[in-house]
């Protein structure tokens, strides 16, 4: 029961209280771009959630392996870990590209443009980096739950991203239809809108954050 409660707490924290998009600005560049193509939302969100789950799981395993190999110097550990995560993301992208291109060409044609954006973005790399950085404090003390915790974390990051996208879509649609001053037309208004939403989330979570 304690383990389940812990996992639910992680999920709620990552999705709502400390949404990584609003509290750490992970994936901002992608959101600003994808918001202009509402038709791709579903496909993009699905791919991104899959990527965050896989990258979190892979990150957890790589982190365990690097620690077990005895890299104790922080810089080596830090740099080697980052490089390993990037290589794992590249591997995922190349495998997905090759497999989908051969097995489902019609589906591949639909997602070929958004696949690199969904894989190579700061949310996809930020999830495993944050997970392993938080691992000593967030996911310890629960026997056998570490890998499960990593999976839950990856799913929660993806869902939190979808939540942020949904929250922003309607607001930005309204903003785009408004007669704003020339200076605020477009990107500035979007940034300010995101800032106000982030302020609301910060008001809920406070300065002492769980993550």
């Amino acid at each position: 029961m304690g383990e389940f409660t812990h996992l639910v707490t992680i999920a709620i924290a990552v999705i709502f209280a400390e949404n990584l998009f609003f509290s750490r600005a992970l994936g901002t560049e992608v959101v600003v771009r994808i918001i202009a193509h509402p038709r791709d939302f579903f496909k993009f969100s699905l791919i991104l959630t899959t990527v965050t789950v896989l990258s979190s799981a892979t990150g957890w395993m790589l982190d365990s392996a690097i620690t077990a190999l005895g890299f104790t110097v922080y810089s080596t550990y830090y740099v080697g870990k980052s490089l390993a995560y990037v290589i794992s993301l590249i591997g995922m992208y190349l495998i997905a590209d090759a497999v989908l291109h051969r097995t489902a060409p019609v589906f591949y044609r639909g997602i070929s443009k958004i696949l690199p954006i969904a894989v190579f973005n700061t949310a996809a790399l930020g999830a495993p980096l944050l997970l392993t950085r938080l691992r000593p404090t967030l996911l310890t003390g629960l026997p056998g739950s570490n890998f499960l915790g990593a999976l839950v974390f990856g799913v929660a990051v993806g869902i939190g991203f979808i939540f942020a996208l949904l929250l922003m879509t309607e607001g930005i649609r309204q903003i785009d239809a408004m007669d704003l001053p020339d200076a605020f037309d477009g990107l500035p208004a979007r940034f300010i809108y995101i800032g106000l939403l982030a302020l609301a989330f910060a008001g809920v979570a406070g300065r002492q954050t769980l993550l």
Binding site: F22, A25, L26, Y93, F120, N121, L125, D185, F191
Partner: protein, 287 residues
């Protein structure tokens, strides 16, 4: 070509004709509601038309209707224009939202901003040069892979010496330093510019975009450090009221929005002045 005043006059015509006859048959509340709806619809249609026209003009490389924001000389692809566009007129952060994650997450003190700017410059320079020299012939998946892998390997070489010299500083950057090798600033500039241009132009673009990113990052670092701790480069310079929330993401988003609006305003002002100078020069030629 129609005269500028004629073009501006024709732009003022409403794009939707309102059904005035129906208004007379409505009650006061219905009338207000209908007018509000029509106004919203008009605005949406005008906005959509504006966006479409700009997009079409940009794609086809033709002169847009609102020609005050167009100058032929700015679209000449030479190193000076490319550098200036990266630094000011098409700043990657203020006008394209590239590299925003690292800016908002990491640049809350001057020293952090300096480290981030320096590493960005090194990564962009090498990656864009390699892209314009070698990677441009690869197919799309391999090209994307090459950008990210090059940047990651380079970061793995650059980061340890910086860490050995400033361990606390690099540790405080947390997850944001590794994120530099996958940020949109690098991948988008490599894909849209370096992969279709020569090495010289790619070099100019890398320098211009890095300087544009670095200048905004340093400005953010200085302002956020001052607001959150009343200090500059770690030295306390005042005893006034501090605003610790300045180091949080929402403050950076709001500041970025305001700065972006200011930059947009200045850019339009600059384009208008440039356009009027051009018109004066044309008039003088005619005389």
């Amino acid at each position: 070509m129609p005269h500028l005043k004629q073009v501006r006059k024709s732009k003022q015509k409403p794009m939707l004709s309102k059904p005035k006859k129906q208004y007379t048959e409505m009650s006061g509340y219905q009338l207000r509601l209908r007018r509000a709806f029509d106004n919203q619809l008009d605005r949406a249609v005008v906005q959509s038309a504006k966006t479409t026209m700009r997009g079409l003009a940009r794609t086809a490389n033709i002169k847009p209707i609102d020609n005050y924001n167009y100058d032929d000389r700015l679209h000449e692809t030479n190193a000076k224009n490319v550098f200036r566009n990266g630094l000011l007129l098409n700043n990657p952060i203020l006008f394209n939202a590239l590299g925003v994650t690292v800016l908002i997450g990491a640049c809350d003190t001057l020293f952090k901003a300096l480290v981030i700017s320096g590493v960005t410059l090194a990564l962009m320079l090498v990656t864009e040069l390699l892209t314009s020299l070698f990677y441009k012939d690869f197919d799309t998946p391999m090209r994307m892979t090459a950008y990210v892998l090059t940047a990651a390997v380079l970061l793995a070489l650059i980061a340890p010496p910086i860490f050995n010299r400033y361990p606390a500083l690099v540790s405080s950057l947390g997850i944001y330093l590794p994120l530099l090798c996958i940020t949109g600033l690098l991948t988008v500039r490599c894909e849209t510019f370096a992969s279709v241009n020569t090495a010289g132009l790619a070099f100019a673009d890398a320098i211009g975009c890095s300087c544009g990113f670095g200048s905004i990052a340093i400005l953010f670092g200085v302002l956020r450090e001052f607001f959150s701790a009343n200090s500059f480069a770690g030295i306390i310079i005042g005893k006034g009221h501090t605003l610790p929330a300045a180091s949080m993401a929402f403050f950076a988003f709001l500041m970025l929005g305001l700065l972006s609006a200011l930059a947009q305003r200045l850019r339009r002002f600059w384009f208008r002045r440039r356009q009027s100078d051009l018109e004066d020069a044309v008039e003088e030629d005619k005389l």
